[in-house]
Point group: C3
Chain length 666, copies 3
Amino acid sequence: MSAPLWFGGDYNPEQWPEAVQVEDVELMRAAGVTLATVGVFSWALLEPAEGEYRFAWLDRVLDRLHGAGIGVALATPTASPPPWFGLAHPDAMPVTADGTRLTHGSRDTYDVCAPAYREASVRMATALADRYAHHPALAMWHVHNEYGSWTHSEHAARAFRDWLRRRHDDLDTLNRAWTTSFWSQTYTDWEQVQPPRATQYRPNPAHVLDFRRFLSDEMLDHFLDQADVLRRARPEVPVTTNFAFGDWVPVDPWRWAEHLDLIAVDDYPDRMGTEGAEQTAFAGDLARSFATRVPGPGRPWLLMEQAAGVAYTGEITRPKPPGEIARHSMTHVARGSQGAMFFQWRASRGGAEQWHSGMVPHAGPDSRIFREVCDLGGVLGRIAEARDADVVADAAVTWDPECWWALGSPSLPARTDYLEAVRQVHRVLWRSGRTVDFVRPDRPLPPVPLLVVPALYLLSDEAARRLADFTAGGGTLVVTYLSGVADPDSTVRVGGYPGALRDLLGVRVEEFHPLFPGETAALDLGSVREEVTQWSEHVHLEGADAVARYAGGRLDGEPAVTRHRYGAGEAWYVSARLTDRGLGSLIAEAAGTGPFPEPELDVVRRVGDGGVWVFVTNHGAGPRRIDPVRLGLDSDAHDLVTGRAADGLVVPGGGFAVLRGHAAAN
Amino acid sequence: MSAPLWFGGDYNPEQWPEAVQVEDVELMRAAGVTLATVGVFSWALLEPAEGEYRFAWLDRVLDRLHGAGIGVALATPTASPPPWFGLAHPDAMPVTADGTRLTHGSRDTYDVCAPAYREASVRMATALADRYAHHPALAMWHVHNEYGSWTHSEHAARAFRDWLRRRHDDLDTLNRAWTTSFWSQTYTDWEQVQPPRATQYRPNPAHVLDFRRFLSDEMLDHFLDQADVLRRARPEVPVTTNFAFGDWVPVDPWRWAEHLDLIAVDDYPDRMGTEGAEQTAFAGDLARSFATRVPGPGRPWLLMEQAAGVAYTGEITRPKPPGEIARHSMTHVARGSQGAMFFQWRASRGGAEQWHSGMVPHAGPDSRIFREVCDLGGVLGRIAEARDADVVADAAVTWDPECWWALGSPSLPARTDYLEAVRQVHRVLWRSGRTVDFVRPDRPLPPVPLLVVPALYLLSDEAARRLADFTAGGGTLVVTYLSGVADPDSTVRVGGYPGALRDLLGVRVEEFHPLFPGETAALDLGSVREEVTQWSEHVHLEGADAVARYAGGRLDGEPAVTRHRYGAGEAWYVSARLTDRGLGSLIAEAAGTGPFPEPELDVVRRVGDGGVWVFVTNHGAGPRRIDPVRLGLDSDAHDLVTGRAADGLVVPGGGFAVLRGHAAAN
Amino acid sequence: MSAPLWFGGDYNPEQWPEAVQVEDVELMRAAGVTLATVGVFSWALLEPAEGEYRFAWLDRVLDRLHGAGIGVALATPTASPPPWFGLAHPDAMPVTADGTRLTHGSRDTYDVCAPAYREASVRMATALADRYAHHPALAMWHVHNEYGSWTHSEHAARAFRDWLRRRHDDLDTLNRAWTTSFWSQTYTDWEQVQPPRATQYRPNPAHVLDFRRFLSDEMLDHFLDQADVLRRARPEVPVTTNFAFGDWVPVDPWRWAEHLDLIAVDDYPDRMGTEGAEQTAFAGDLARSFATRVPGPGRPWLLMEQAAGVAYTGEITRPKPPGEIARHSMTHVARGSQGAMFFQWRASRGGAEQWHSGMVPHAGPDSRIFREVCDLGGVLGRIAEARDADVVADAAVTWDPECWWALGSPSLPARTDYLEAVRQVHRVLWRSGRTVDFVRPDRPLPPVPLLVVPALYLLSDEAARRLADFTAGGGTLVVTYLSGVADPDSTVRVGGYPGALRDLLGVRVEEFHPLFPGETAALDLGSVREEVTQWSEHVHLEGADAVARYAGGRLDGEPAVTRHRYGAGEAWYVSARLTDRGLGSLIAEAAGTGPFPEPELDVVRRVGDGGVWVFVTNHGAGPRRIDPVRLGLDSDAHDLVTGRAADGLVVPGGGFAVLRGHAAAN
């Protein structure tokens, strides 16, 4: 029998009386829960005074869960130091850019660079390891929670300087990398270098970028301090931490992944319906790529948090439509998540997240939400055999957090939303039925026929070489605007854009021509006129052919989209921000149509030792008939969810199927 | 002869040369001024150095006013410490949440928790009491001005802890009340508790709510320090302070009212015309309710400040249309205000309020504004006999500042504008001709047939019981969405909303379903489809009947408005944000139409020893004929303003009448 | 042969390797560059440690430039202290209003009041003077860069008090000027006076205004410290500094101009096309007026910075259309600029301004931008003979930075955009073909027939007298709304607006009646109805005639525009914010049409010893035929740009001509 898929959520029983905790375990069993994340916010109870530990209550929780056959992801609670900590160690509270020292009163309030905090974190991890490393419920270690709190303290300054010394060797190199000769910023002593604190005018973008890189590495050090302790205590239990996603998060998951035994992500799409499905597929593909595209053997990954009942839209918190809980979960599991976890088990009555959803909502178990949770638990139990099968990707897209950070600089010709630029490419590929691997451009590329490089502002020489090799080897490369412009120090490559890619693309861009909000330009895509917003460029052909030209306006007749034969492949350049439709048709022209071009249908193919599994999730309202042959399955495939034969199967609107078979002979 | 109505304004003669001050008193007499508020901003002149007092100039001002027969509301100037104070006592300057210590440079810059400030305040009150307690002009003591300056200082931290000890007895109770088990916030020592200062992420809503309650009580202590001194000096002179209104003001007038001899309010409507009339009636009803609905005997109340010539709209400062000064004043006097006061007598030439209006504007007495002021003075002189008659209310609405504060939390499913929710109900009742008493739900309710409870998020068990008793006793109760959800610690009542009112209303709400900005839903109100914005809910009937159901969309066919027979009365639930028209027609269905459903006509009935007075203010443009019978008057009633008989009286557009008679026999 | 026009830009060679620096000088020669501004950001390289100087690299730069015949504007680099400075002198870093001490990390980070900074500045100026005063390349000294960094430090507090003592003599006077009797702000000791730091509520507007005046004077002192050193070293080399423009800049160029040998301005229009042309003409007229309308002999002036290739629009950085570089440059040169300079020579690869444009863009010299730069260099070489000819203005407009600052107060009846009010008047006059002199109203006025006074809120008695004299002497005066209201201490003149101008204008304004955003009013301009937005007033005639009246609304039938015969002239009052068209037609009615009413044509007439030059720049798309007679030229005038005869000359769309001739006989 296959190992189970993880199903459950963050479990914070300390908020509830004993009777509720007893009911919790009964309800978990009813729902098919297999894993509970415990301890994330328990520091104050576990160590009520410095060095004094109280484990009895947690013993009871773990024993009770174990008694019900439920595994535990035991968290180190270091993301939320208790009130006494800040009082005892005021220097370990974070400092904002303008010098405000934050105080206890929320969560996540710590200075990751402060020695007192680092020591307290290791002490806590050691105490937990000592007590629970051999507890039978222990399924994984969950270090910290959503790393991401910034600090600009003196502790940070010291650590930043040490990091800079390692990155840049000496001050001359740093001065060159940061172009400090401009604006009289030349450093003559390491002590002069500070975090990017409040200053009179715009900061140096290279300074800011390196500070984010430093914070990522510094937080990774904090993680490794604890991971070392936990691994020593019981090496076979995997150690993970859950990544949050947002432009404020100074964590580079690519670099962290090789230090984790299991990659965990939190996913809170802010839209519902098809848009929410796209966001979810994006998050799942990203998480899988972090996990699998590491040096050495790939890692497993897990959706560690999602909202059970609601979507946080930025404006309001809106109930998810019926079935959405399962659709989002399946969209992740299809992409390789080893299960579907939620924050949190039971919605809180009080505290700052009292309106965060729960698997058991305020209304209690007699509720639509809890019924959907139970249904999902049942489904996951029936599809566990697919758990370790590999996902088959048929396109790749670059994703570079450092580029995201660099494009956050206030000094660019126009604000370019890197996340949206990448999401648009992913969206277009998803709608064409492709499954996407994300890649970090300076690492080996997967053997896919199509690689899309959106808005890759920062580009190293090595990465540029990899893109050229990919193309020369017969691949189709599609690069979009604003790519290749700067080196990894965010220094512009002069002589014409896109500096590092001019030879490969066969173009030279003389000027950027961003558009005003609301302004549009046009380009001629053969039969249709394509609308351009936000961005256009003055492109000169230097070897490439023009596939489409600007029509009207200042750039009338100039090349807009180009194609360049390069070795055995082709390198395309899209110099403008297009509509989804326009970009989609261009990619289809460059690379052919995707395998499952069914709008609103999420199709993911998995291959493992025992066979082939195809996950089909229908995000549309109407029923869809399945054709196993088109999905590459043999005719005796069947649906693990319903037990029915795949041949002639109809997936109802909002429903899903997991087809198990063998690769068709075709 | 009846006691006069107060008429006048804040008088700051220290800005002007002696000759202007002499003219002031002449103009006041011409205008019929009876009261001047003196000394609000005079600390710097009264105490030019610590402990050195200069009273000669104030003696002259008081003597001169007295000579003209004008009473004085003598203010303690403690709201605006002078420059020397902050220099001598930097620790008595307020501190913002992020630790910025404010400095002198404006008004209201004090730390209400600082010992030095508390001592200086008492010293000043004592000096004024010593000198002026027996001055013949003294009509009332006016302590401070618009209490409201926040502080997060160490002084505040200490006082907050003391207050918390009194409220919660011990740390265990506090930890439970605040759900500190979540997010590792458990306090193990009182010293760990701080004001809600800048922290990494969202604050604990119970922490923030208690801090506002604390500030209200702390400011009340500051008030009482002074009131005690003043009352000891001359017990028969009433002590008051003027309440400001705004969501930033951490003062709960319900709790303060019992400590005041006279409730004073400042009212600055930001709209004109009918909207301004509604705002004014709202403020007047609120002020009267604070004054009368206290434990023990009711208090008198007074409109202490309004703008003579202009409305501050948030965007611009706009002259009020002709007659608006009188209409706003009469709308307050009708509701029981013991007069109509203004800020300020003469518009300032300099300083931060140089563009605040004055009864004597920059243009001088030869001005429309001053002429309208004189007319109003004349009217007030003719209607003084109604001064102490009781207002007759025919509906009640809950108003809870703590609920307002709690709904300001950033963690709710949607931002709900409590003020607007209550104003909407008041507006709908006002337009139906009802006079509204506001009630604090945990205090005894007035004997009215209709009680409306809008968005009462916080609800104590006691308050819930009072609502049930009201209904069981035959009343009509109308509760709107988001009510009864949390207890007074803002802890959600689980098992289904609206927790504390489920039995009374006969419903169980499973999920909230807020709407996006711009999104609408619909419900079927019999003949019309009613538009829903902002808020809707998933309602289950548990004893109630559905009066209206959602039509279309996710909640199609589910109950939207319900009615539940409860004892001798009925409890209605409105689960959605409706239009004014829709809410109005529902209330009419529940409770019948109001007594004077005349759009744009403000009608208030007063009953006293000597008879009945009906105030009619016509906020519309056209003339309105009065029917004394319909107003419940005998046929020989007459208008105190014009002296004409009430029978056949026409109130011109923008005009008003005060009809005096006896209750009709009917 | 005439002295050359300056052509070139900021040159920061320290960013580039030697080979690029060698290419720089070759390209400069090719482009016709005559002046390079060097050293603006070089402090860190020139003084790598306190008191240690490194000049060798700068020697090479100056020698190389001199070798190519290029002059140098040698900058003192004091606007951008190096990292070591802030570390050695933390007290010399600026402090924000809320007490945040800024740190190094950008440019412009200094406390202009800090002794350590003042000393370091003089030391640096001295070192540069010692080394380079007699360098043959030295064409001018360029002190600092864009003065403007605010500070609220204790150093600032001390210096502010000294300044206040000089301005107000004693505390009584200051207390009166600031109306400190209001809000208990009376100062009893100079030590109590602070900069306008963070305080509880609105600041005192007179306090804020004096602080801006103080900062202007304090920065001027800092400038003079250096100027004295430089002038002593070599008196014949002119000293300048480049003014930035913005409401945040606390510098009054009128007061500075008399201390400069050459007025320099930076101009970054944020629009293109005709709007950009208007902005450019506005900046040029302003700069010329600063330079020429000083006590004593006029100064030369120079456009020191503009963007070569792009416009910073606030939203995006957009390439300027073809020819715009030359059109903007010619618009300045036409108005008397002694050349056209740019920031910067070569676009940076790194640093915060890596996306600021350059004369040599990222794309390199093979680029449209560099080709346009070369063309412009050629043109400037051909028109140098006009360099010192006087500009002939035919209208004047008041411009008062102090009024701009005062109208930034948050306490006004409506936010009034002073800059836009003045720009509107300039725009209307520019479109009517007039060349405008700006005037500071308390200085002697130029002999023009028309003077327009827009929104001159602050007005001294002396300035009011000058306006009266101008009118009495036969001039046409047009005053717009909100003028004359306050005295220079921003104290309102009571008795009726516009206080200081009531007699002159023959009106009395009783109330201001600002309009809501989106609201309009109307007035009857004879044949057309004119739309009013933002502002209107209740005007009484006291001697003036109504030229136009409000139509409809609250002010229906009241005077809106008035005319008052005063001595030999006429004083008009426009009480409302009109459209450009309406204001233009009123001015035409008051003063006749302008001389060159050609939309989109910029025509400036210059008169010098050798003749007459007329600069014509065609900002429109179509060609325009020139009529020398209408331009007041004799028939044998010719175009210096093309060498063609003026008679029959056609200036192509987007082109320009510089016609040289003699004044026509007519």
